[in-house]
């Protein structure tokens, strides 16, 4: 097995545990503790994928979550995961990965031709090229998406399990490097409940990749000791492999824990794959470190051009020396740490430093080890097609704006960029904290947070780069955060001593000069170059947010973690103003990509949304009901017999109910029990009609209005006693009406003594309807069903099918109907008894569709279908329900508002199409005027629309067969009965229909009362 770039020893990998994996179908070896990236680099793989726009060959830039280039398709089939950063994938045995954004293969990519046309693909090319004609945009977009496509989504359902977990803590610490661990230590010692989370598989942060010392010992010893002490604290929770991804108001943070990703697909056992944490923290400590930034020089995107800190991580943490000849390109001292570690590991090392004459401690150490240093020098070009093979360097002029003299060529297989550091202020910014530009350090650092999100930034994310100071800051923040959460007195222990090196200042050089037109990338994933930013400026994009969208800078899966500040620097120079004046783009959650599966957690399928079912549900299911969702309820929609279409079933149910007896499960209707001495007074305010004279055991229909005078619910309310009422509401409006009652009682009429209780689920309701309903019911009840004893709109109590029941004689079908209410537990028994006894009456179970048809025949509205929040009772022809005598009820005053009395209102009408077989689509518009050949640009106004429309067997057309009926709202409709209107359909047909009053069946209502 050739891991020719693996060092003989060193690194935090377990060489006793070799692993094998495949990349683009080829087998490789690695070790436990590797990432996919470190293992590929150990095997000499440099070319990983292709860039987004130009399809240029790309390799590894970083060793962490900031990686823009090395995004791969991980695994296959249902387990496949697109756009995965190879630098954060922990290697496991059998791992399969593949390049993405290349076709047919990463080595031979057809899209690379884009590179040849690069000058035709400038910034904003989407907007400039694909503007017109609009119809072609769809075509273009599809082509662009294909060419620019990132990974491929899985086509199968996700086989993994995920969960959401909610928790509270006193101190949440984001980041497990030296600053975070120090804070956890002192916060934990106070007894506060502490959570410390870090995205890596082990704590230590940058110390995992360094040779730093703390108290004279290797820094990792301090890490081990700290973790050992934290392990003894019962209130401290350590979460490795957990990225704090979002920082929301009132210190509510989200974190994504990758629980079993590192074991490989299907190897997680019973565990969830990922856990999505929702954490409410009294105090937050941000210890998120810093991200190194690249240098924007000519041809800086070839595979093998990496971040200097990443090279160091591969050497020290993974025991991999990424190249044999390494050229470090630096504008600050930190690049020399890489040079020193690389030359010690056996590489030939050069440094090109843009600073005039660097002489810091690290520079001298490197020089003493034999590193060749080119001072005041810039890289002006690179060589190598699929991997870098060399660089060209030139001397800089005095102010660093140009290069002068002749150029040298340096052979190298790695270029390590050390362009300075960006504190990872993402979470702080998400918390709405304000940033400050530190000109000397050339970095944005936290300035001040907001009161509702108390946090402290410590260590590198606060711009504190020296290890000793980092530890002191962490220790101090830990105790102070604990104190502010109510633990301890806030006094910090003395900080341990740590490695100190004297560093010289960074030399900011946002764009490195060169001769000629060469691409200088500042944003690798989206192929955004310094020239793109400059073009954007020339074309008037001054706002950073505009430039971002114009150039797509920072819009990739890495969200511009490496590119952000360099981009601002180039924009600032182009706009001739300072970086603070350009400003920053907004950092948004999540910090790193998170799978929808994790966010969804356990809320899938039946747990996604509750299904409310009635006690009669088992019968419906076993008799083939087709269900529809009404609110959260599953209601039988229709009951098809074998071979029947929906149309067939509904026509049969409609006819059977009118001719014999139908039965419907009405349990879902909202029911509210209202008691108390002021109940009547409440009803008088809620409803438009008068209630005082309603006798005990009598029912009355009412509509409820909002204060705008518009209908928002309806239902029948029954007086059970002097101060006791049973209110029903629409199925979907039950909770809304309950809330309405509570709101008025609590906020406006707190002195009313009324108690409202939702009893929707206490009662199961079977409604039997039709000319044979009374005969059926009389067989199984002791209640006298005679019309004089139980008249229409009456209620009585008794026994039905051997169980106590309330029987209401109310009807939504226009037939003699009984709503039989029994305690919920008896619902199925009631239904089954009715079905068994009903057999000889040809009883027909029907669903909501038939209910809709039958009530439409009678012109009974469905609130929310025939009304839409702009309908008064008068608009729907219910003048009769509005009391003229009552001084006040909710909405009354609005009837006389100018807009409501100016006329020309949409009013409920019936429609009968000229062709009785055409069922108008619900929602179809009624044209005010029609012109068979309207001129272009001439539009006809809608005069209304169809609200309900059905085919029914109960209304016959000229041919003696069933016909269509519709309800509609039409301008001035009540005075237009007899007119013919036109309904233009989407398919071009113009359907003529007769306007009628909104009732089609038994207009006198004789059947109902019988």
């Amino acid at each position: 097995m050739s891991q020719s770039y693996r060092l003989e020893s060193g690194g935090k990998i377990d060489r006793a545990k070799p692993l094998s994996f495949t990349f683009n179908g080829k087998s490789y070896g690695g070790y436990q503790g590797d990432t996919l990236a470190s293992a590929l680099i150990a095997n000499g793989v440099k070319l990983v994928g292709r860039s987004f726009k130009y399809h240029r060959p790309r390799g590894f830039l970083s060793a962490g979550s900031d990686e823009p280039n090395a995004v791969v398709q991980l695994e296959e089939g249902a387990y496949t995961d697109p756009n995965t950063r190879a630098t954060v994938v922990e290697l496991y045995d059998g791992l399969k990965a593949a390049s993405q954004n290349c076709w047919p293969s990463v080595n031979h990519d057809v899209g690379e031709i884009n590179s040849l046309f690069a000058r035709f693909l400038p910034a904003g090319f989407y907007y400039k090229t694909f503007m017109w004609p609009p119809k072609l945009w769809m075509w273009y977009e599809e082509r662009i998406r294909h060419a620019a496509g990132m990974g491929v989504s899985p086509m199968e359902s996700d086989p993994d399990k995920y969960e959401n977990l909610y928790t509270h803590c006193d101190v949440l610490i984001a980041g497990g490097g030296p600053a975070g661990l120090a804070a956890a230590l002192t916060a934990g010692r106070t007894g506060a409940r502490v959570i410390i989370a870090d995205e890596q598989d082990q704590m230590g942060g940058a110390l995992l990749s360094s040779h730093d010392e703390i108290d004279g010992k290797p820094a990792m010893v301090w890490v081990e000791e700290t973790l050992a002490e934290l392990a003894t604290m019962p209130e401290v929770r350590i979460l490795p492999r957990t990225t704090v991804t979002g920082y929301y108001d009132y210190n509510w943070l989200t974190a994504l824990e990758k629980v079993t990703d590192h074991k490989g697909p299907g190897n997680g056992g019973d565990s969830v794959r990922q856990r999505f944490w929702k954490i409410r923290a009294k105090q937050v400590v941000l210890a998120t470190g810093a991200i190194e930034r690249p240098l924007v020089f000519a041809e800086n995107d070839r595979p093998g051009i990496m971040m200097a800190s990443a090279v160091r991580t591969y050497i020290n943490r993974y025991g991999v020396l990424p190249g044999k000849e390494i050229l470090v390109f630096a504008n600050n001292d930190s690049g020399y740490l890489t040079a020193i570690d690389a030359i010690k590991a056996g590489a030939r090392v050069y440094v090109a430093d843009v600073r005039a004459n660097p002489q810091g401690d690290l520079v001298k150490q490197a020089e003493a080890l034999g590193v060749k240093i080119y001072r005041n020098t810039a890289i002006t070009g690179t060589r190598g097609r699929k991997a870098v093979t060399g660089a060209e360097v030139m001397e800089l002029n005095e102010d660093g704006t140009d290069v002068v003299g002749s150029h040298y060529s340096i052979d190298c297989d790695i270029i390590a960029m050390a362009g300075g550091w960006n504190p990872t202020v993402h979470l702080f910014s998400q918390s709405r904290g304000k940033l400050r530009w530190d000109e000397a350090a050339t970095m944005f650092v936290p300035k001040e947070g907001v009161a509702i999100n108390p946090s402290r930034s410590v260590g590198c994310c606060n711009g504190t780069m020296n290890l000793g100071a980092v530890l002191a800051e962490g220790l101090g923040a830990g105790v102070r955060a604990a104190r502010d959460a109510g633990f301890g007195d806030g006094s910090a222990p003395e900080a341990p001593t740590a490695t100190i090196v004297a560093e010289e200042p960074v030399r900011a050089m946002w764009e490195v000069p060169c001769h000629g037109h060469k691409k200088k990338f500042h944003e690798f994933q989206n192929d955004s170059t310094s020239a793109d930013l400059q073009l954007a400026t020339r074309e008037g994009m001054l706002s950073v947010e505009h430039t971002k969208r114009y150039t797509t800078t920072g819009m990739g899966t890495d969200q511009g973690k490496t590119s952000n500040v360099t981009g601002l620097g180039i924009m600032a120079a182009a706009q001739n103003r300072g970086i603070p004046a350009v400003g920053t783009t907004t950092f948004r959650p999540p910090y790193t990509p998170q799978a929808f599966g994790a966010i969804t957690g356990q809320n899938r399928r039946e747990l996604f949304e509750q299904n409310r079912t009635t006690s009669m549900q088992p019968w419906h299911e076993s008799h083939g009901a087709v269900f529809e969702d009404v609110g959260d309820w599953k209601r039988p929609w229709y009951f098809p017999k074998p071979g029947e279409s929906m149309h067939d079933a509904v026509q049969r149910e409609c006819k059977a109910t009118r001719d014999g007896v139908g039965i419907m499960d009405a349990s879902t209707l909202g029911k509210i029990d209202i008691q108390g001495p002021d109940s009547l007074q409440l009803l008088e305010m809620l409803y438009t009609n008068a209630w005082a004279k309603l006798g005990i055991g009598r029912c009355r229909y009412g509509v409820m209005l909002n204060e705008h005078g518009m209908i928002f619910d309806d239902g029948v309310t029954t007086r059970l006693g002097e101060n006791h009422f049973h209110m029903t509401t629409t199925t979907g409006g039950a909770a809304r009406v309950m809330g309405w009652l509570e709101e008025w009682l609590q906020t406006e009429w707190p002195d009313m003594q009324v108690y409202c209780t939702s009893v929707t689920e206490q009662w199961a309701v079977a409604t039997i309807s039709g000319p044979r309903a009374r005969a059926l019911l009389s067989e199984l009840t002791d209640i006298d069903l005679d019309v004089d004893s139980l008249p229409f709109m009456g209620m009585t109590e008794g026994n039905v099918a051997g169980v106590p029941a309330r029987v209401y004689r109310i009807s939504f079908t226009g037939e003699v109907a009984f709503e039989i209410n029994v305690p919920q537990a008896h619902g199925l028994h009631l239904w089954e008894t009715l079905m068994a006894l009903g057999e000889k009456y040809d009883i027909c179970p029907y669903g909501t569709e038939t209910m809709h048809v039958l009530r439409a025949e009678k012109g009974f509205i469905i609130v929310g279908q025939d009304t839409d929040g702009t309908c008064t009772p008068m608009d729907v022809g219910m003048d009769w329900i509005v009391s003229k005598k009552k001084e006040d009820f909710l909405g009354k005053r609005s009837f006389s508002r100018s807009d409501n009395i100016k006329g020309n209102r949409k009013e409920l009408v019936g429609l009968l199409t000229e062709d009785p077989k055409i069922v108008l689509p619900e929602g179809a518009h009624i044209a005010a005027e029609t012109d068979p050949k309207p001129a272009m640009g001439k539009y006809t106004k809608a005069a209304g629309h169809v609200t309900s429309s059905y085919m029914t067997p109960n209304i016959t057309g000229p041919d003696g067969e069933g016909r269509s009926i519709a309800l509609a709202v039409l301008r001035n409709g009540q005075s237009r009965h007899g007119e013919t209107i036109t309904v233009p359909l989407m398919d071009g047909r113009m359907v003529k229909a007769l306007v009628t009053e909104p009732i089609f069946f038994d207009k006198e209502g004789e059947r109902t009362r019988g």
Partner: protein
């Protein structure tokens, strides 16, 4: 996500609550005597405050009680919570 302190139940997540808009808008005692403009104000006109806002909340997934809060709509900081019927507390920075 906001933390809201129900005067009856204590600190709870925003997701347990329903927002009820601007507070201290009393229903006119005699609607019939209201002019169109006055009635229109009652049902439609709201301050849409940038800054200190007196508003109503209901603990929908909890005790289902309505109560009032004072919130800075810029910072989203809650400055006070109080029960329905209690007078509005005066808070610092209230320009109304």
């Amino acid at each position: 996500m906001l933390t809201i302190k129900c005067p009856w139940c204590g600190d709870r997540d925003l997701t347990e609550f329903a927002a009820g808009g601007e507070g201290h808008i009393a229903r006119p005692l005699e609607p019939a005597t209201q002019s169109d403009a006055e009635w229109g104000d009652y049902i439609y006109t709201r301050k849409n405050t940038k800054g200190i806002h007196y508003e109503r909340w209901m603990h929908a997934q909890g005790c289902r009680r309505w109560f009032n809060a004072v919130r800075d709509t810029v910072s989203d900081e809650f400055l006070a919570f109080y029960k329905t019927g209690e007078p509005a507390p005066k808070v610092e920075g209230d320009g109304s």
